[in-house]
Amino acid sequence: MAGEKKIKVVISKVGLDGHDRGAKVISTLLKEAGMEVVYLGTYQMPEDIIRAAIDEDADVIGVSYLSGEHLVFTPKIIDEMKKHGLDDVLFIAGGVIPPEDIPSLKEIGINEIFMAGSMTKPIVEYIQSHVRKK
């Protein structure tokens, strides 16, 4: 559809964990689904991700967790998002996250979590139907 702005997604790893297979794969697949994706790579701190999301005017922030670091970094990312008024930016996460943690992560403000072994289609559809309308 000519003239329609593409959904812009910032994908990142957080902290020291470098298991980036999932982050890279989902970046490519979201691009193939018609979104504009900026993959920040490894060794990003919450501030780095938020700065990139602001600079890029991102509609979606997606982080990939593996090592249990979701408990440390999710609240920090949400704090930074609030501080910078990114209330209408969708915040999703993927990776190795115990199901027991999902309710509390959602309660503090993460929008959706896709565990390891997710198919691509539901992720694309979720983003398309929940992203802010421009």
């Binding site: 470098g18 697949l29 670091e69 199901p99 072994g117 691509t120 289609k121």
Partner: protein, 563 residues
């Protein structure tokens, strides 16, 4: 594998109905391919083996080219080592879990470094403080290693220290320092250190693993152990981690061998003889879920390695030709959906390892797609190994699949494909060049993307992911492993206290010697062992060697050398 139309209606949310029943009833695999994509015939027979010489191409177990195993009696001589990887929280937490598994019949001690330690950071580093102990254990100073090994008779056990990055040099120094302080003769200690820094750039540790530093420190450890610790396996070239990137079985072997030969070439350049160091060279292999392909892969790897050692490197000692390996069942084959099913996947993978003639086995825990292993998960994984060893009878005969028309043919096919890929690597300028130019990165990325697309398109089926799905679980059956933030805090405080109270002049002297050895190209292990005894820390030792080789002190570029 099945075709897509047969599966319509078997996905999540479909109403249970008799059409689904009929689809499942008449279901059949429609593409006869292995996991890695080898096309298969319906059946194999003697004609497939015509012109193939048994003695030359396969041979008996224990005899060159060792296709059928490295020992003539295989498991009748001794079961494989049942070695579960352990690493969580503090050295004390990890020591506790080690003892639990030993109490329950674990036979190999196996501890793994956390992210912060692999990166070469002390626990008090600004980037480390958030993540100490989340995925393993950090050893910052000699007291941490003392705690990790507390109460364990080092002369009786075989300890596998999983540190892969250049930090493996620090790990070895710390283990030796503790061993010597406790009065052990280190030449008698048995165990292994992973020490494969080259491959670790692909596991998210690129800042800690510049290529020249990886070769230098990796080979310093190998050279030191060859000379001073003849019972120690000084590297476990990690083909497993490469496979976890999403590549195929033949790529796993080809890329693993490429990396292994960088070390072999360097050790020979240093004047060591292949017959002297070859017998202590080991590999870490993945076993994925395609049982026959994994067995064929292992058999092909054994035959190829023997030929390379003999024909390319001129080895004369048969032990230097033997492909020795541990198996880690494929973590990436596990899923959080319907998690108890992972026990079944792991069992098939472990069976592949044993049918392949493994020396040492780590079975994943069923909960590894969810969290670090819980104690119950860990024990269950150990029990999987024990059931295989003690109940199933698979240990009675060496290489039980040898002579199967199919498995022999697949072994040949994997071997051909490994050689083709090795040639491909040669054509891009050899393995070092493939790494430097990021050709290898692009291969990994291409394959990983393909694996996900195969799942999305249902060309590859995973129960619970794209077939026979159910609503997501909200509870992990045996609970979730949590890492105590108190443990990390205590460990960080101890590091700060040690740095404040130690004799700084001794530390500085040890750093000076280490720097000189680093700059002048001497093996840094002896200086690291002395530095460890002088209470110099991991980050300080590695930072000093990094600077001696022209790199920043801190891989994360946050802190400067205090010396």
């Amino acid at each position: 594998m099945c075709s897509v139309d047969e599966l319509e209606g078997l996905e999540k949310g479909a109403e249970a109905n008799w059409d689904n029943y009929l689809k499942a009833y008449y279901g059949k695999p429609t593409s006869g391919k292995t996991w890695s994509g080898f096309d298969l015939k319906e059946i194999y027979g003697p004609r497939d083996r015509e012109g193939k010489d048994y003695e030359k191409g396969i041979g008996e177990a224990g005899q060159y080219p060792f296709t059928r195993g490295i020992h003539s009696d295989m498991f009748r001589g001794r079961y494989w080592t049942r070695r579960e990887v352990i690493g969580m929280g503090s050295p004390a937490d990890t020591n506790d879990r080690v003892k639990v598994l030993v109490e329950h019949g674990g036979t190999g001690l196996n501890t793994i470094a956390d992210i912060t330690y692999e990166m070469g950071l002390d626990t008090d580093h600004p980037w480390a403080v958030n993540e100490v102990g989340l995925t393993g254990v950090n050893i910052t100073h000699i007291h941490d290693m003392e705690t990790l090994t507390e109460g364990v008779p080092l002369d009786k056990v075989s300890w596998s220290l999983i540190t892969a990055s250049p930090s493996a040099a620090a790990t070895m120094a710390q283990y030796v320092a503790v061993g010597q302080n406790r009065g052990y003769d280190i030449s008698k200690l048995r165990g292994s250190v992973q020490n494969d820094p080259i491959h670790f750039r692909y596991c998210g540790f690129r800042p800690a693993c510049p290529l020249d530093l990886s070769i230098r420190l990796g080979c310093d450890v190998m050279e030191y152990c060859t000379r001073d610790m003849p019972k120690w396996y000084y590297t476990t070239v990690n083909m497993y981690d490469l496979r976890e990137q999403g590549i195929t079985a033949p790529q796993e072997v080809a890329f693993g061998f490429g990396i292994a030969m960088i070390y072999v070439d360097e050790l020979i350049r240093r004047g060591l003889s292949i017959d002297e160091f070859g017998p202590r060279f080991t590999f870490y292999v993945s076993c994925h879920v395609d049982l026959f392909e994994e067995v064929a892969k292992i058999r092909a790897a054994r035959r190829l390695w023997a030929r390379f050692m003999k024909e390319k490197y001129g080895a004369k000692n048969p032990q230097a030709m033997q492909f020795r390996f541990a198996v880690h069942t494929a973590g990436c084959s596990l899923i959080p959906q319907q998690p108890l099913n992972n026990i079944v996947r792991i069992s098939y993978e472990a069976l592949a390892a044993v049918l392949g003639g493994v020396q040492s086995l780590h079975c994943c825990s069923y909960d590894e797609a969810i969290c670090l292993p819980t104690e119950k998960g860990h024990l269950q994984a150990l029990r999987t190994q024990q059931i295989l060893a003690y109940e199933t009878g698979v240990c009675n005969v060496a290489d039980p699949l040898g002579g199967s028309y199919y498995v022999e043919e697949l072994t040949d096919k994997v071997e051909e494909e490994v050689l083709r890929i090795m040639k491909q690597v040669e054509d891009v300028g050899g393995m070092e060049e493939a790494i430097r130019t990021e050709w290898l990165d692009r291969e990994f990325e291409k394959e990983a993307l393909m694996r996900q697309k195969e799942i999305d398109e249902r060309e590859r089926l995973v129960v619970g992911v794209n077939i026979f799905t159910t609503e997501p679980e909200t509870q992990t059956p045996l609970g979730v492993q949590r890492i105590s933030s108190e443990s990390a805090k205590k460990q960080i405080d101890e590091t700060r206290e040690l740095k404040r109270t130690r004799n700084i002049n001794k530390v500085k002297d040890s750093i000076k010697r280490l720097r000189e050895d680093g700059e002048e190209g001497r093996n840094v292990l002896p200086a690291m062992i002395e530095a460890t005894k002088a209470l110099t820390t991991t980050g300080e030792m590695l930072g000093t060697v990094r600077m001696a080789m022209g790199y920043s002190y801190d891989p994360m570029n946050i802190i400067e050398s205090p010396f």
